[in-house]
Structures are given as structure tokens and as C-alpha cells.
């Protein structure tokens, strides 16, 4: 058998991660080439995305033009929090959207294919498809964050970098929530409701977290940590003392929540495979 290599039974974790990271380029490439196979729909899709983003901005604008403040927060402060929230959300949408397809893949039996390849199944799922139609929302988010930083007089290089980091970490929080909700597909066939629930939770991150009661606030900090996607990171710029410190810990919160979600998704997949019957 020419060219057959003896498989390594144990690959070190580091080399496995490196292998997955290198492969991501090839997956991205295949995805982009696929999208450009239909240039007209691809462009239309993004134009529609901009229309959508303008629609959502119009809603925010309509709201803020009448309200001026929410709770103790002034308009630019609310805008910064809202901007960080949709910044995180659009990054999630651009790079993690295929998590939503778990249920359909289970129904069609396509999960089986992921399991007979020498790669991590969740990685294959997420890297396997991008729709790339959310650049409009990303643009809106950048505009909101940039403008609000300017209005607040806080538009420094450090703050801009912090907002970028916070949004990447925020997108990881959304990915965690969607991974858990869509991971339910391994237990129950129909998961439309769970997927919707995941999208609902991100609405909690759009407004200052302290407008909610104690219970809700604890919930969005400790259980479904969406407050770490927008409100707490914004405190690094707006707040002081303890609140600012919590804000600085947002990336840690993101990593922890993703670790949990990843563990849960794996457990759910075990269930699908029938581990421990």
C-alpha cells in the first residue's frame, strides 16, 4: 500500500491545535470561493444586509431621538453599549453562524460525515460554512462605537483596541450560547425554539445591564454571561473601581463560557453517538 503512513495514536494537543489553525485558511478559502460562485446573490445579500443594518439603526435612532437617556446612562453611553453588543453579534454571525445548522445536519445525517474525519467535529461544523452577509451590521457597529467614543471624548488608541478585543471576546460569548442552545439538537430533533432563544439572549446585551432587576442582572452576568459582551467591557471606558475591574475580566469570562459550551456540546454529541447507554 504505497504511501500509507502509520497513524499516530496520540497527537499532542498543541500540534492538533496548530493543525486545525492551519486548516482554517483552507476552509475559509473554500467558503469564499463558493460564495463568489454566485457573485450577484452574494452582492445582493450584502446590500440587503446593509438595508437591514440601516433598518436597525433607524429603530435605535428613533428610540434615542425621543429618549436621550436610559436609566442613569446618557445617549453616547447607551450608544457605546449598543454598538459593542452588535459588534460582537456581527462577528459571531460572520464566523460562527453554522452552529445554527446543527439541527438540520442531525436531521440530514450530515453529522456522521464530521465524525469520520480526523478533525474536531465542532471545528468542522463551524469552519464548513460561512454566509458572509453580515458585513452591513459590522459596519453599523463600527460606526456606533466610533461615534460614541468621539462624543464621549474617549477616542484613544487604547480604547479602540479594547473595543476590538471586547467584541472578539463578546462574539465568543454569543458562540457559547448558540453552541449550547443548538447542541440541544443532539437530544431533541426540533431546535428552532432553542436557536431563537439564543438570538433572544443577545437582546439583553443591547441595553445597560443595570436597568434590569437584581435577579436578571445576576442571570446575565453569571449564567448567560451576555453582559460581558457589551455592558462590562464598556465599563472599562465609562466606569471606575470595581465595575471597571470586572470589565477588564470580560475576555476571561468569554474563555470560561466557551470552555463550558464546548464541553456541553461534546457531551451532547456523546449522547447522539450513544455513549453510556
Amino acid at each position: 500500500m504505497g504511501g500509507m503512513r502509520e497513524p499516530k495514536l496520540q497527537e499532542s494537543r498543541l500540534s492538533s491545535i496548530w493543525r486545525h489553525a492551519r486548516l482554517y485558511y483552507w476552509y475559509l478559502r473554500a467558503n469564499w470561493l463558493s460564495l463568489w460562485a454566485y457573485p450577484v446573490p452574494f452582492i445582493m445579500m450584502n446590500v440587503a444586509g446593509i438595508v437591514y443594518a440601516l433598518g436597525s439603526v433607524a429603530a435605535v435612532w428613533a428610540l434615542f431621538s425621543k429618549i436621550h437617556a436610559i436609566g442613569d446612562w446618557t445617549l453616547p453611553e447607551v450608544m457605546l453599549i449598543y454598538g459593542l453588543s452588535i459588534f460582537s453579534r456581527s462577528l459571531f454571525h460572520l464566523f460562527w453562524i453554522e452552529l445554527m445548522n446543527t439541527s438540520a445536519m442531525v436531521k440530514a445525517g450530515d453529522i456522521d460525515r464530521l465524525l469520520v474525519r480526523p478533525l474536531n467535529p465542532m471545528y468542522q461544523l463551524v469552519a464548513g460554512y460561512l454566509d458572509n452577509d453580515d458585513w452591513g451590521e459590522l459596519l453599523t457597529a463600527v460606526a456606533l462605537v466610533w461615534t460614541s467614543l468621539g462624543m464621549l471624548g474617549h477616542r484613544t488608541v487604547a480604547n479602540v483596541f479594547w473595543c476590538l478585543l471586547a467584541s472578539v471576546s463578546g462574539s465568543l460569548i454569543f458562540a457559547s450560547i448558540h453552541a449550547v442552545c443548538n447542541g440541544m439538537a443532539f437530544f431533541t430533533v426540533e431546535t428552532g425554539g432553542f436557536s431563537q432563544l439564543a438570538w433572544t439572549t443577545d437582546e439583553f446585551s443591547r441595553y445597560p445591564a443595570d436597568i434590569y432587576g437584581k435577579g436578571v442582572r445576576a442571570l446575565i452576568t453569571w449564567v448567560i454571561p451576555v453582559a460581558f459582551a457589551s455592558f462590562y467591557p464598556a465599563q472599562v471606558i465609562l466606569g471606575e473601581g470595581r465595575l471597571r475591574l470586572i470589565g477588564l475580566l470580560s475576555p476571561v469570562a468569554a474563555i470560561l463560557s466557551f470552555a463550558f459550551a464546548y464541553w456541553f456540546w461534546g457531551k451532547a454529541m456523546d449522547k447522539y453517538q450513544g455513549v453510556g447507554n
Partner: protein
Amino acid sequence: MKYLMYARSEFIRGFRYRANYWATVISAVALAVIQWYLWHAAYTDKDLIAGLSLDQVLAYTLIGRVAAGFLTAPTAALRIGSRVRTGAIVHDMVKPVDLHTQLLWQGLGRAGFSFVATGLPLLLAMAALGVLEIPSPGRLLLFLISLLMAYVTVFSTSFLSGVFTFYTKTAVGVDYVYTVVSLLSGEFLPLEFFPAWLRTAADYLPFKSMHYIPMAIWSGIAGPGEVVPSLISQCLWTLGMVAVSKMAWSGALKSLTVQGG
């Protein structure tokens, strides 16, 4: 009646998915909670915003959450264009039923399940907690009539968008454009919050029949003198949208049979 059977079977189908149901309920509750806190925070130091009181806005948005499941755009209608493109439409065309009517009733069955299983419990819970006040029987009846018409408009708009994708040859973007329709319908905010030009646009478009009118009737935003005129205009828009979507559909079918797909 065969169309009623379609509605019934879709209604019953809802009972299939148990865990999914609870997720839907939690979603609905979460969205209601967000609205409640958001508006309380917005009204901290004001009595009126855009001419509306806190109670009015809360009633409008909370009953909006109750009705949301009932007024969700039916996926089958939005995807009608792809059914044509993939050829699956052949199965529909050999059946002795009108597809527009069939989907309307199927969607109603599904919406009915959503209302009974999710909307109604949420409504009763909020009423019991004193968060949401139930209006007088007369207004309630007018609200229900208006809600039913809103469903028909939602359906027709989705169906029309679906037919539109048959011409554009791609379904992408429909969901996004639909979001703008939702904005103009008043789903996110009462139309009073819009700047004047957008309010004018919304007033002259059919979309406010999809959400604003029933919620304004429930919440009292529509004053006693406005209820009947808005119901009449809603009725006209509803009939108009049904007619337009049906016409667009038969046009699409004709071009399909002429060009042979």
C-alpha cells in the same frame, strides 16, 4: 372543509416537540422582561415620551410580545420561490387545492398553536402579576378581529416576498428586507417614536396593519374615535394585500408554464 383540516393538522403538529416548546416559552418571557425593564428605565425622569405614557408603551410592547408568535412570518410562504426553483412546486400543482389558500390555513394552524401554547399563558401570567391590564370586552373583541386581519396581512406580505424571490432567482436577502418591513409595521417600536417623515411613510404603507393597529387598539394608543377608522383601513389593506399576492402568484405560475421553469 379541507382547508380547515390543513390548519388543524399544523396545529396538532405543534405538540410534537416538547423541549422546543419550553425554549419558545422562555424566549417569549425573556423578551417581555427586557421590554418591561427597558421602558421603566427610559421613563425614569419623564412622564411622556413621543406623547405616550409609560403604561401605554408597556401595554403596546407587552401585548406585542404575546402576539409575536401568532404574527411570525410563515416560513413556507417566504420560501415559495425556492419551491418553484427546485421543482418541488409540481407536487403542489397536481393537488386540487389553491396553494395560496392552503398555505394561509396551514400558517394559521401553526400561528394558532403558538398563540394558545405560548402567547396565551404569557398573557395570563402578566395579567395575574398585574403587569398587563386586559381592556374592556368591546376593545378586546376589536383587538381580536384586528389581530386576525394582521395575520392575513403578515401572511400575504411573506407570500408576496416569496413570489418576488422567484423573479430575483435567489432567496437571499428576503429575511433582511423583511426586517425593514417589521420596523415599519411597528413591531420594534410604536410608530409615534418615528421621526415625522418615517411616520408619514409608515402611515401610507400597508405594513402597519401587520402589527401597529391591533397593538394600538389593545393599549389604548388608538383613542376611541380612531379605532373604527383604523380597523376599516386595516380591512382594506388586508384585502388589497391578499389580492396583490394572489395576482403575483398566478403571474409567476403563468410565466412558469410558458417558459417551462
